[in-house]
Amino acid sequence: MDPHPLTVENGPRFPIPPLVELNDALTKFASAGCISVTCYGMPRSGKSTALAVLIDMLEASGAAVVYSTVMKSSTGGFSTLMEALQLSRGGKVTFPSLKPENAFIRKAVADRDERGTGRIWILIDEAQYLSYAQFIGLKGTLTEMAKLKLAPFIVLFGQPEILSLPERFKAVGDASLVHRFMNHKYRMRGLMRNEYGGMLGHYDTTRCSETGPTYTEYFAPNFWGRGGRMTQLEPHLIAGFQGVATRAQQNPDDIPVAYFMEAATSVLQELDEADPDEKAFTDLVQQAVLATGLTETYEFLGNLEARSRERKAPGKLFRGYA
C-alpha cells in the first residue's frame, strides 16, 4: 500500500527543524568540498527519516546521484557494502562473476552520464557497524572516483558510539583511516521546547493538496469537527517531556524528534475517539509521553555520547549499554 502523501516512514511529513538544519548543514559541507560527514545523534532522533527525506529531495531535484544503504550487521565485507549501494538504485538481476567494487564505480560513471551531474552522494545508515575493511574499501573507492572526475560525498549516519571508532581502529594501527571519514561531525539535535508550538501547528495547517484536509482533519475528523486543534497540546507536551528529561538528568531542550511525534500522534488518535475535560486532557498527554518509552531509553542509554568519547577501544563494537 502506498503511504499517505502526508506521511513519511509512518510519521507525519512536516518540515522538522532539526531535519531542516541537517539538510542545510550537509549542503554546506558538500558545497565546501568536504568528502565525508559523520552525522550522529540519539536513537530515534530522526536520522533515518532525514536520510529518507534527503534521498527523496536529491532524487527529485537531480542535484546529485544518491546511493544509500543500511548496515544491518558488522559482519559483511566491502563487497557486500558495494553491492547494497549499487542495488539501491534499482536492478535485481546480477551475475555471479560481477565484481561489486568495480561495478559500483562503473555504475556511478553511467549514472553521471544519465543524470548529468558528477555529484555522487553515498548515504550509509547505522554506520557504526562499518568494519575496518569497509572503511579501507571506501577510501579506495573515493580515490578512484576522484580520478574519474566524480565528486563523491559520503554521509555516515549512526548512533553516538560511532564516535568511538577511531579508538577502536587504533588497535588495528590505522585510526587515521577513520579520521578521514570523521573529520567533519554533525550532531543531530532533538526538539527544543520553543519549537513544540511550530511543530504542532504543522498538524493543523499542512495539507496534501491546496483544498485537501489538514493532517489533523484527515486523521482525526471528529476532533477537528469539535474545533479541536493540536496547538492546544503545546503546554501539556512541554510539561510532560520536561518532567521526563529532568528526572533523568537530561537536557529538556533535546528531545528526540520521534518521541515527540509519537506522543503527539497518539494523543491525536485518542482525542478523535473521546472528548476529555481539562484534567483528563492533561492526564491523556502525560500518559502518551510516558508511553513513548523515553524514560526507559534515558535509563537504558544514559549519556551515550559522553560515554562513547570516554570509552577506550572495546574488543567488539557495541551500542554502549552492554
Binding site: 551475475f95 562473476s97 555504475k107 553511467a110 544519465e114
Partner: protein
C-alpha cells in the same frame, strides 16, 4: 529503469545483437560475458547459439529485463527468423563472432553480421572480419571479458572514460566516403582457407545440424562420451542421435565438449584437427572448393552415422560400427541430404534409450 544491474536501455543501438548488449552489460557490471549470456539467454544450459535463436519465452523475459519491446528486439536483438530455421537457413548463421571494425569501435555488433551471406557492414561498407586480429582464433561469443578473444585475451575494443556516452551514441555512421570498393576481389568467406578456418567451418556446420535436428539430445550426448575413443571400432550406444553426433564431432576434430554447447577451448585440437577429413581434402580438393566440400562432408558424415546407428537399433542391437566415408564423390551424390537428415533424425528419436523424444524438435521457436 531496467531490472538488470548497471544496464541502461538507452545504450541499445538499432540492429544490435544480444552478444553486443551482453558485452556492454559485462563491461558496466564488471562481469564476464559468458556469465551474462548464460543468465540472460541460457546459452550454456541449452546450446551456444541461444543468443541468436532464443525461445519465445526467453526472448520475452530477456526483453523485459532489458527494457526493450519484443517487437523491436525481433530481427534486431535476435536473428530475423520466424520459428526454428531449417538447416538450409540455419547453416548460414555463424556462431563465431564476425564484426565490422568501425562498428566495434563504437561498441556495436549487429545481429546480421552473423549471417554469412552478409559480407560487408551495411553502415560502413567495410568487409566483415572474422577471428581474432592477434591470434586468428575463432571469436567465441562466451568470452570472459567484454570485447575480448577468449583464447589469447586480446581486447578488440577498449572503452574510454566516457564509455556511457559512447554506448549511447553508437558507432559513427559517416565513415563511408563514396562507393566502397573491395580491396580483395574474393569475398571474405572465399579467401583461401587455412587449416584452422576449415576446422571452424566444420564446427559451424556440425553445430547447425546439431541445433536443428539433434538439439533435444544434448543431455544424451553427455552420457555417450565413451564413444570418443572408439575410432574404427564397434561402440555401445543408448541414444543413436547423441552417439552419432559425438562420433562425427570426434572425427571432425571438434572437441567433444563442443557438442553439448560448451565451447571451452576454441582451438581445433592440434592432434586431431579435422582428423581424417583434413588429410583427404587438403590433398585432393582444389582450394576454391574446400569450404563447400567441408560442409558437404560434415553433413554426409552425420547422416551416415545416424543411419548406421538407427539400422543397428532397428535390429535390436546396442552395438554398432560406423566409419566415415572418405569418398569425395559420395558427398556430391546426396542431393536430397537435407530431407534424408530430417528423416534419419526423426527415426532415431524413437530409439533414444535415455528419454522420450519431445513432440517437436523445434523447441526454440521464436514465434
Amino acid at each position: 529503469m531496467s531490472d538488470i544491474v548497471n544496464w541502461n536501455p538507452r545504450w541499445y543501438q538499432a540492429g544490435e545483437s544480444l552478444w553486443s548488449v551482453a558485452n556492454k552489460l559485462a563491461w558496466a557490471a564488471s562481469a564476464s560475458v559468458a556469465d551474462v549470456l548464460a543468465i540472460l539467454a541460457g546459452v550454456v544450459k541449452r546450446c551456444r547459439e541461444a543468443w541468436l535463436f532464443p525461445s519465445m519465452e526467453q526472448a520475452r523475459v530477456l526483453c523485459g529485463h532489458l527494457g526493450l519491446s519484443v517487437e523491436v528486439a525481433k530481427g534486431q536483438l535476435f536473428a530475423d527468423i520466424c520459428g526454428m530455421p531449417k538447416l538450409q537457413e540455419r547453416e548460414h548463421w555463424q556462431i563465431g563472432i564476425r564484426f565490422c571494425p568501425i562498428c566495434l569501435e563504437g561498441f556495436v555488433h549487429r545481429t546480421h553480421f552473423q549471417d554469412r551471406r552478409v559480407t560487408h557492414c551495411l553502415a560502413h561498407g567495410v568487409p566483415l572480419q572474422e577471428g581474432c586480429p592477434a591470434c586468428g582464433a575463432h571469436l567465441d561469443p562466451m568470452c570472459k571479458q567484454a570485447w575480448c578473444c577468449s583464447y589469447c585475451s586480446t581486447v578488440l575494443s577498449i572503452p574510454g572514460n566516457s564509455w556511457p556516452s559512447q554506448f549511447r551514441q553508437g558507432p559513427s555512421q559517416q565513415v563511408l566516403q563514396g562507393p566502397w570498393t573491395a580491396p580483395d576481389q574474393s569475398p571474405v568467406w572465399r579467401c583461401p582457407p587455412t587449416r584452422r578456418r576449415l576446422g571452424e567451418l566444420a564446427y559451424e556446420e556440425h553445430s547447425a545440424i546439431w541445433s536443428v535436428y539433434l538439439g533435444t539430445h544434448a543431455g544424451c550426448a553427455r552420457r555417450e562420451l565413451d564413444c570418443i575413443n572408439a575410432f574404427a571400432m564397434p561402440v555401445r550406444f543408448k541414444c543413436p542421435v547423441a552417439c552419432a553426433a559425438v562420433m562425427t564431432a570426434t572425427m571432425l576434430g571438434i572437441a567433444p565438449q563442443f557438442v553439448s554447447g560448451a565451447w571451452v577451448d576454441p582451438r581445433p585440437r592440434a592432434a586431431l584437427a579435422l582428423g581424417i577429413l583434413e588429410s583427404t581434402l587438403l590433398w585432393e580438393v582444389p582450394s576454391a572448393e574446400l569450404q563447400t566440400r567441408v560442409r558437404d562432408m560434415t553433413r554426409l558424415w552425420v547422416l551416415e552415422a545416424i543411419e548406421a546407428f538407427v539400422a543397428a537399433a532397428l535390429l535390436g542391437k546396442e552395438v554398432a560400427h560406423w566409419h566415415p566415408s572418405l569418398s569425395l564423390a559420395a558427398s556430391k551424390s546426396h542431393s536430397r541430404i537435407y530431407e534424408r537428415l530430417e528423416q534419419a533424425a526423426t527415426a532415431a528419436d524413437s530409439f533414444c534409450g535415455f528419454k522420450a523424444p519431445s513432440a517437436s524438435r523445434n523447441v526454440k521457436s521464436l514465434g
